[in-house]
């Protein structure tokens, strides 16, 4: 019988990986991938807590919402990236240098 702790530690590792990806990558889509890691860490937490009797069922339901939010966000983000790409033909954030300051 696995306890709660391994899941939480895995979730923490995923969070740190996500943050590292976001920080180290300059490509917008890669950064979005990092965000998905963080969000998955959060859902993993929610499901693990819920299944180990903390807060009843609501953790799992909340995990569903997080997944939906991630999807909605990804859709909008990708639309924006595509538009950006169409406009200046790259998705590398650093290549945009119109906005200075």
């Amino acid at each position: 019988m696995m306890g709660l702790t391994p899941y939480l530690i895995l979730s923490a590792i995923l969070l740190v990986l996500g943050i590292a990806i976001v920080i180290s990558k300059r490509n917008a889509i890669a950064m979005l991938i990092g965000v998905e890691f963080i969000l998955n860490a959060a859902t993993l937490n929610l499901v693990a807590f819920s299944r180990h009797g903390i807060g009843g069922l609501s953790g799992q339901t909340a995990a569903l919402f997080v997944i939906v939010l991630a999807a909605a966000e990804a859709v909008v983000a990708l639309a924006i990236f595509l538009n950006f790409y169409h406009t200046i033909a790259t998705v590398d954030i650093d290549q945009g240098d119109q906005l200075k300051g």
Binding site: V22, I38, A42, A62, V76, F81, N83
Partner: protein
């Protein structure tokens, strides 16, 4: 279903009215011929906003329905208190003003207009719910609801490089911060077993705050700080505002910031008095440092800007730094009241300043500072109201910007936060430099034709025509700034009354 009484339903009506308006605009746009009926849609949107305000006005201003979540359906998700009512009225009226300004500045194809309206109304709904949420999942959804349309609005000028880039930066930054916030929420859920903020606080108060909960609260703070644009989560702000149209920038600078500020104030207002003094002191210190760094960084960066929207973006970051100081004061409701008073006046100043900038941009095709040169002679009235807004942003009497700064400073002083007072005052001095650059351009520099900036054959030196609706908006903003200075007791009373319970 558990108790959805008519009383509670009344609290839902304003939001429902907004959702219906959103749907109606979409349907209207689908039924109507493409590219027609802009005025009709504007009227529909304004009618929806007015309806929401009226419905909100019908709510009992004094009843604070903070019953436990088992009691009823709606107050499980929202704090149905006077502040909720205030946020609906405040943001709806503000969006009404924005729509009038947008209508005057609109240069894009007509078919985009309903999309624009729907996005604005969608973000309005998100902001209202964000400011009042008590259920953390609800808060996260409201947060996204406020954010997603904002990302699109920033990138609304499609095939414009700046706009596309600003939106891309904004969405990446926003996605990271919201993901961190959701991670924090999941941890809080694990520690306390609930998503309800009051119960979380109760649990933390009873059982102490484990380190993991501290990490979770920091994550939550990061999310809100992103929306408020506190350092170091402020980088999106200048990029996004420069990328967006002036009207969208005005909407974001006031709407999303005040919504997140009120959310933060509300959460802090419940949390901080309940937890142990040690953690509370650390939290206050953290917020104080963040606030001071925010205002200082913003004011120092603003000086070098030549894009006025960007300059105003830094100004709005600095103001976010000032306003968030209200969170530091917890012993009574005065801190939150100071925030409310400040955002009320901030609305007038920023709507005004961004509207004038939008007019200049529409005329000249750029918001570069050079386009303001000679405005004092080209259109003295426009320059005069812009000066009003700038001086009010500095915080000089006899304008309301001073009154609210005074309320904030005196509140801080009373709670022995003199170092924050000094920091705010020092920043006020810094800020003078860059606000004065606009005033200087308008009045002191002699107008010279800038050939590269001409558009549509119009000379930048030509008198600027201000559309009628815009005149009304600007007049209301300018008159409001004087009236709210002379009568700032009313302002103070109003904001204090929101927390009378």
């Amino acid at each position: 279903m558990d108790g959805l009484t008519p009383e509670h339903l009344r609290y839902l009506w304003p939001v429902l009215a907004l959702i219906v308006t959103l749907g109606a605009i979409l349907v209207g746009a689908l039924i109507g011929r493409e590219g027609s009926g802009r005025r009709g849609l504007l009227a529909a949107a304004l009618a929806g906003l007015i309806l929401a305000v009226l419905l909100a006005l019908r709510l009992n201003p004094h009843s604070a329905l903070r019953t436990p979540p088992s009691g009823d359906w709606l107050s499980r998700y929202l704090f149905l208190d006077p502040l909720y009512r205030f946020v609906i009225i405040y943001l709806s009226i503000f969006l009404g003003g924005i729509l009038l300004v947008s209508n005057s500045l609109w240069r894009r194809p007509t078919w985009e207009w309903p999309v624009y309206l729907c996005l604005l109304i969608g973000s309005l709904i998100g902001m209202i719910l964000l400011a009042s949420a008590r259920h953390l999942i609800f808060l996260a959804i409201a947060f996204e609801m406020a954010s997603l349309p904002s990302y699109v609005l920033v990138g609304f000028r499609r095939f414009n490089t700046k706009s596309a880039e600003g939106a891309a930066k904004y969405v990446v930054f926003g996605a990271v911060c919201s993901a961190l916030m959701i991670y924090g929420i999941s941890l809080l859920y694990g520690v306390t077993g609930t998503f309800d903020w009051e119960q979380i606080v109760l649990r933390l108060a009873v059982e102490g705050v484990p380190p993991l909960a501290v990490a979770a609260l920091v994550c939550l703070f990061i999310g809100l700080a992103f929306k408020i644009s506190l350092a170091p989560m402020h980088f999106w702000c200048p990029d996004a505002f420069e990328a967006a149209g002036a009207d969208v920038a005005a909407w974001l600078s006031v709407g999303s910031k005040s919504a997140a500020l009120l959310a933060l104030a509300r959460l802090a207002h419940i949390l901080l008095p309940s937890i142990s003094p040690g953690i509370r002191d650390h939290a206050i210190l953290l917020v104080a440092v963040v606030a001071i760094v925010t205002m200082t960084v913003a004011n120092l960066s603003a000086y070098w800007q030549t894009s006025v929207k960007r300059l105003l973006a830094y100004s709005s970051i600095a103001h976010a730094g000032y306003i968030v100081c209200g969170v530091l004061v917890l012993a009574d409701t005065a801190g939150t009241a100071a925030i409310v008073a400040y955002i009320l006046v901030y609305l007038l100043m920023n709507l005004g300043a961004f509207s004038v900038t939008g007019l200049i941009e529409a005329q000249n095709g750029s918001d570069h500072l050079d386009n303001f040169v000679g405005l004092g002679t080209r259109n003295p009235r426009l320059a005069a109201v812009m000066t009003f807004f700038l001086f009010s942003l500095v915080g000089l009497p006899p304008l309301a910007g001073f009154a609210v700064k005074w309320i904030l400073l005196s509140t801080l002083w009373q709670h022995e936060l003199a170092f924050v007072v000094v920091a705010i005052l020092a920043n006020t001095l810094f800020s003078l430099f860059y606000y004065m650059r606009i005033a200087r351009a308008m009045y002191f520099s002699s107008p010279q034709p800038v050939p590269s900036l001409q558009l549509d054959g119009g000379s930048p030196l030509a008198t600027i025509q201000v559309p009628g609706l815009m005149v009304a908006v600007l007049a209301v903003c300018a008159a409001g700034l004087i009236a709210l200075f002379l009568g700032w007791g009313l302002l103070n009373n109003l904001s204090l009354s929101l927390f009378a319970t």
